[in-house]
Symmetry: C2
Subunit: 211 residues, 2 copies
Amino acid sequence: MTDRNIEAIVAGGSAVRATEGVDEHLVERRVRSESVYEGHFLKVRRDEIRLPNGKTAWREHVVHPGAVMIVPIADDGLLIIERQYRYPIDRVLLEFPAGKLDPNETTLHCAQRELREETGFRAREWAYAGRMHNAPAYSNEFIEVWLARGLVAGPQELDDGEFVEVQTMSEAALFALAVTGELTDAKTMVGLLKLQQWRSGAWSPSWQPAE
Amino acid sequence: MTDRNIEAIVAGGSAVRATEGVDEHLVERRVRSESVYEGHFLKVRRDEIRLPNGKTAWREHVVHPGAVMIVPIADDGLLIIERQYRYPIDRVLLEFPAGKLDPNETTLHCAQRELREETGFRAREWAYAGRMHNAPAYSNEFIEVWLARGLVAGPQELDDGEFVEVQTMSEAALFALAVTGELTDAKTMVGLLKLQQWRSGAWSPSWQPAE
């Protein structure tokens, strides 16, 4: 086996909109689309699509506005983390703060708003740390990751019916919980990977002031 | 701020079924549940729930059978990775092999089956690397992670209408793509975190033969 050249893969379109012909052998095309469930939170569509081999098939998928996750780093190095009950899995999860984008909201504005609302913290400095797709088989959700530092505490502004416990934890403790299996939230583990890449020198955050 | 004792957090129930009273201030209780969409792939339920403050609210959520992801490591150290078109996001993603559990299937059996079907590879040795929840706000999906080594190549057995390109890539190249943002699949980034924890000595896989 031979390693594959990174540039070739990038050019080949990993995580890149696949409309330029190079991935015609993989791409599925929409024939028609219908809404099958329009709830308060979840919207589900069912699309008839054309497969690369010309046959048709159906794709059912959740329509999501996108989200942000914040990795908040206090001046003493501790991370701000939430404990939150997640109804679908009947578990309390440890998670970095996160929330859905409002219409026409920039991801940085959303990150600042969600951090303030859920934890009470404001951050003086922000650094973009990339995007993830967390359920690409059946949801168009993406999560934009922001690091935040220069934290200033304030009051939580939780929505009515939102219950979030805010804690602080060292990076080492959080990494240890990911090893033991006590930390299972995928986006939070991706946040840990970003921190690890920063600490190892593979990546360096580009800090900017709050908007 | 003070660091928080790991044992206290584990005892407090992170990622642990929250039914023992310690998290009563966070837990939501089902009042009633109804199916609102029953598709070929997606099943959606809408539940009336009781919040910790006694009020009621609704939770809409996808019912998923659970899944496995395989991190396949060839004898020369290269990783087996897939390029696959994901309709909901209109992108070709780089992903470790993964697939849904069949009814009554063990996660290891599922991992062996999915690796063989999607990539053609069989693996002589397997090591469990933990669980993740990838969309806990609106899906009960969990993904069990298995490392696989001692790979033997064979023919792909793709389902009709499944199009998957199999490649090999070094760990370093895959980490680099996660830094540049070309790799956006959350479960695959969690796989990279597991590999990093192994390489750094924070965790050591416990290998077992194939079932």
